[in-house]
């Protein structure tokens, strides 16, 4: 880890201004930034601490659920309203990391966590387009059991590791931000970018732009939602494949649906074709299985991760089945 300056920001404007240079990094929970700094992957000159300038409140009102960017993962997961209105969100958070990490990790930070790609995390590997744009991608021909099959490019196949973001995507959440020119609102599906030719860019956030809160709108699907995660180890492991699903049923017919995938996409992945194949159909196993078949359309696999295609279809079908059966 190289030496760096540390600034506990006193005002949001100050954080935005000081966080603007490319060599600055924001810190909230620090569960990933500190890890990557110790690995010499992140080498900031300045670390701007947001803990004094953002909210950790969890609020429920007409608009829906508002999560302060500093709301800790543990607090969100065990919040009564979250558990009642959006079980998928609570389940997704509790399926990730460990209690110790969840106690520190924040809502904003979770959305911005970086990939677990082993080649990205090993600073001694010369080829990583995320770490060093233009240097190549060691993963393409490497060991890729944990890598993405959806949204990949010739330059990067790193998977997005978040569970929580997948649930928020299925809940039509939006992030609210503050930047030098003011505030804006970004639908979660638009927050993360595809690697394309610029895998070093991971979100649409501008340098210095801070996530201030996440808003989850009230939804007719919220209560009929669930998260299913499949991983090698029973706990404390990243997803091989996961699905967040939310359904709206009316007399046995699916009126609307959201399906988002984790562990398989370069970003939290919306399975739009699956959703379309559900709407207007009877809420039956046949419908679920047929729709799940479409979840990985467009997948590009390697020999190591080709199993994620059949696995994801089964994960989605199981998750839909489970959501459909909720009281």
């Amino acid at each position: 880890m190289k030496s760096f300056d540390y600034l506990p920001a006193q005002k949001l404007e100050e954080a935005v201004a000081r966080g603007e240079p490319r060599t600055s990094r924001f810190i909230a929970g620090g569960t990933l930034l500190v890890d990557l700094m110790r690995l010499d992957v992140e080498r900031p000159d300045l670390v701007v601490d947001l803990n004094g300038v953002l909210s950790s409140d969890i609020a429920w009102n007409e608009a829906g659920l508002t999560l302060g960017a500093l709301a800790r993962n543990t607090d969100v997961a065990y919040d009564d309203t979250v558990r009642r209105e959006f079980p998928v969100l609570s389940e997704a958070i509790l399926a990730g990391a460990s209690p110790q990490i969840r106690n520190l990790a924040t809502t904003g930070g979770n959305l911005l966590q970086r990939t677990r790609c082993a080649y990205f995390r090993d600073a001694a590997v010369p080829a990583c387009n995320k770490r060093k744009p233009g240097s190549g991608c060691a993963a393409l021909e490497g060991y890729t059991r944990m890598h993405a099959i959806l949204g990949v490019s010739e330059r990067c196949i790193a998977a997005h590791p978040s569970d929580m973001a997948v649930a928020l995507l299925a809940l039509d959440a939006a992030v609210h931000t503050r930047r030098a020119t003011g505030e804006r609102q970004i639908p979660l599906g638009d927050l993360h970018t595809l690697p394309g030719t610029t895998p070093e860019l991971e979100t649409v956030l501008e340098p210095g732009e801070v996530i201030t809160r996440v808003v989850v709108p009230r939804s007719p699907r919220g209560r009929r939602s669930t998260y299913l995660k499949v991983r090698d180890r029973a706990s404390f492991a990243f997803a091989l494949s996961s699905a967040a699903v939310a359904l709206e049923l009316e007399q046995g017919t699916i009126r609307s649906a959201r399906v988002a995938l984790g562990g398989v996409g370069v970003k939290p992945w919306r399975a739009a074709a699956t959703e379309a194949a559900l709407v207007g159909r009877p809420a039956t196993s046949e419908t679920y299985r047929a729709a799940a078949k479409l979840a990985t359309s467009g997948a590009k696999t390697t020999p190591d991760n080709a199993f994620k295609v059949p696995l994801t279809e089964r994960v989605v079908a199981r998750a839909l089945e489970r959501a459909g059966a909720l009281a």
């Binding site: 880890m1 190289k2 030496s3 690995l39 010499d40 677990r116 082993a118 080649y119 995390r121 090993d122 600073a123 001694a124 590997v125 010369p126 060691a138 021909e141 490497g142 060991y143 059991r145 944990m146 499949v230 090698d232 180890r233 029973a234 706990s235 404390f236 492991a237 990243f238 091989l240 199993f307 059949p310 696995l311 089964r314 994960v315 079908a317 199981r318």
Partner: protein, 698 residues
């Protein structure tokens, strides 16, 4: 009341739970500075230049040690015993494996040492690299030995002839993956020179004396000029059994800066600098008569080693002795690759070899249509047919019976896929466990202090197994006093000489010495008149024990039977172990509490080996890709069900002074096969490649 056998609390538990136990790297030493090992990004080739200009500008940097300026370490590449390792201590520019030490940076804080190390700009000239065992299997060569006392090849009877005429055959290939020990305590050393010719090391080691010998050899010092201290070890599992390069590098750095130096490895460095369980490819052939009697067995083992040192995973040894069979052939071959040297990992040989052998037996049981337990009983070895000796004791039949009964094995429906619970497939599998009961020469001293209490002193180290506790129990019984009156001092080469805590031999070796020394002291005490006995004089007895003369007539092994239930999600391929019952017969149980922990620890390791643990090497660079505890999966609590352990108290007058066989390793030996066999029973899919991850079942 005797103390031995009681499940008394661990003597070190309170200090550990309260954070008071001082591990090697915790030792307060005045004037301490910190070293960081810089390792090679390249997997094979040469370092052509190291530019240290930026590193030297990091505040607090005291030295940048590279092959250009490193003091010579004359004995770095000289081995005296088989578990000595060839060390890489920045003596030349050659890169033999990825993440090999290429420089050491010393600074006033660990952070600055590491930052300066990362600031070195290293240029390399790469050479072609080969790290794939599968692709280089044909390059296997015969090693000198398969273990300290074992020949690489063995043959009895006429394997080929018996195979040709046998009614039923199983011929399969089994593979196991790289397993890293990943003890919770990272390897750490503090090196303190007294002048140029005496060295004190505080080291996380499984063997203070072997470490002393290795460092004395490396620096060309008389062994008595090196002192190694290790009061607590936070897990070893084999990777702290040899003194590795970083120990010598700490001493080297301390010599350069003329100050005490602390060197602690990172979690990532543990992947390349302190050994690992090598990959194996195992070809097994079993042939039996229609009644299930084994007629021929063959076990050919290929494992990887480095190009500069030799370690053999002795997976075939178990096949030589575990069952009655007149025609048995085993071979061991090693393939030299551009990799670091592998090493002993909990039950080296037995853990991997027994997986292959015991899965093959399960396959044979299905071929024959007999119950797996029946097949094993049919081929029960009444004596060791390899050494042609009687067993010192063997209670394996009782283990099968007790474990099967507690597990409910008789309710098993043999047809694969025939047991279900809701949407899950339920599978039951079993395997035999075994591990040699070893003993080495050891010395111990027992003193009566002026306060009338007793002190046990022996160099040995407690690697978390309960050595502090059981030595006090053994001494207390020999002295006829309450265990509270016995204090144990260990972990220091200034104390009587003892062997490495490896091969499950500490209780049998050091425990025997403590028993004899305590008995000798008791005799001295008894000889004294009543008035002399109460006087405040210090009394000492010290002696050395070796194997009992009687022991050589016997083959000495611990045995066990392990039964496992798994539940498999047929759609998702997820396997979870839901029940595990093991029965062990390992001589006398010295402490039922610490013993149970050892057996359970072995069983947990077996779950890891079977289902989870897999260090993966990038075949282009040789670098380990699974470099931390998030990517390398050791079992967590959620992976481990309630573990049921049945401990048979076995009377063995021959094995050693205390009648106890080792228990630290046997618990892992049957688990991988039992789990693999249960997965087959659940799914009908025979996975012969560990670990059994869900993609293999989709």
């Amino acid at each position: 009341m005797t103390s031995v056998g009681q499940g008394i609390d661990r003597a070190d538990a309170r200090a550990k739970v309260r954070g008071e136990a001082q591990y090697a790297a915790d030792t307060p030493v005045a004037g301490l500075v910190h070293a960081f090992v810089v390792t090679s990004a390249l997997g094979h080739g040469r370092v052509t230049a190291i530019d240290a200009s930026a590193a030297r500008t990091v505040p607090g940097v005291l030295a940048v040690i590279t092959p250009d300026n490193a003091p010579r370490v004359p004995g770095a590449t000289k081995k005296k015993v088989s578990f000595d390792r060839i060390l890489q201590v920045v003596q030349d520019a050659d890169v033999r494996y990825a993440d090999q030490p290429i420089a050491v940076v010393v600074a006033d804080t660990p952070e600055r040492a590491r930052a300066a190390g990362e600031a070195l700009v290293v240029s390399y000239a790469p050479s072609p690299i080969a790290v794939s065992l599968a692709q280089n299997e044909a390059a296997g060569r015969k090693p000198a030995k398969a273990g300290p006392r074992a020949e690489p090849d063995s043959s009895r009877g006429d394997f080929a002839g018996a195979l040709a005429s046998a009614a039923v055959k199983v011929e399969q290939t089994y593979t196991t993956s790289i397993q890293h020990h990943h003890p919770m305590e990272l390897h750490g050393t503090i090196a303190v020179w007294q002048g140029n010719d005496a060295l004190t090391l505080y080291d996380a080691t499984q063997g203070v004396f072997p470490c002393r010998e290795r460092l004395a050899g490396a620096f060309d010092l008389p062994p008595e000029k090196v002192r190694v201290i290790s009061h607590y070890v936070g897990g070893g599992f084999g990777c702290k059994g040899s003194a590795w390069s970083h120990v010598a590098l700490a001493a080297l750095a301390a010599r350069v800066v003329k100050r005490p130096v602390k060197l602690v490895l990172t979690r990532q460095q543990v992947c390349s600098l302190v050994g690992y369980r090598p990959r194996t490819i195992q070809h097994v052939t079993l042939a039996a008569a229609k009644d299930g009697q084994l007629r021929a067995m063959r076990h050919d083992v290929i494992s990887e080693t480095s190009r500069f040192d030799e370690f053999v995973e002795p997976s075939g040894l178990v096949t030589r002795m575990l069952y009655a069979c007149p025609n048995v052939t085993t071979t061991h071959r090693v393939v030299e690759l551009d990799v670091p040297t592998p090493t002993f990992t909990r039950a080296p040989g037995e853990a991997t070899g027994n997986f292959a052998l015991e899965v093959a037996l399960d396959e044979l049981a299905y071929e024959l249509g007999v119950d797996p337990v029946e097949l094993r009983l049919k081929n029960y070895a009444e004596h060791d047919e390899d050494e042609n000796k009687p067993w010192s004791s063997k209670s394996l039949r009782e283990c099968y019976r007790r474990a099967a009964e507690q597990f409910g094995w008789r309710h098993r429906r043999p047809l694969p896929g025939s047991q279900r619970e809701q949407h899950l497939l339920v599978g039951w599998g079993m395997a035999t466990a075994s591990y040699p009961a070893r003993q080495s020469a050891a010395s111990a001293r027992v003193k009566r202090d002026r306060d009338g209490n007793f002190v046990v002193q022996a160099g040995t180290q407690d690697i978390g197994t309960g050595t502090y506790t059981i030595l006090a129990q053994i001494a207390a019984d020999a002295l006829g006093v309450a265990v509270e009156r016995v204090r144990v001092e260990i972990g220091d080469t200034a104390l009587p000489e003892t062997p490495v805590s490896g091969g499950s031999q500490t209780a049998s070796s050091t425990g025997s010495a403590v028993k004899r020394a305590a008995e000798a002291l008791k005799q001295k005490l008894d000889a004294l008149s009543a008035s002399d006995r109460s006087a405040d004089t210090e009394l000492v007895a010290e002696l050395k024990t070796e194997e009992k003369p009687d022991r050589k007539r016997f083959s000495t092994h611990g045995f066990g039977a392990q039964f496992v239930e798994v539940k498999v999600d047929p759609d998702l391929g997820v396997v979870r172990v839901t029940r595990a019952v093991s029965a062990f017969a390992t001589g006398k149980i010295l402490n039922v509490k610490t013993a149970r922990s050892q057996f359970m620890g072995g069983m947990v390791w077996g779950i890891g080996l079977a289902l989870l643990e897999h260090s993966r090497r990038d075949e282009r660079s040789g670098r380990i890709v699974t470099r931390d505890l998030a990517d390398y999966h050791v079992p967590v609590n959620a992976d481990v069900p309630e573990l049921e352990v049945i401990m048979l108290n076995e009377l063995d007058p021959h094995v050693n002074e205390i009648g106890a066989k080792g228990i630290g390793e046997i618990g892992i030996t049957g688990m991988p096969a039992a789990i693999a066999n249960a997965v087959y029973h659940a799914t009908g899919k025979r996975v012969r490649e560990l670990p059994i991850t869900l993609d293999k079942l989709l």
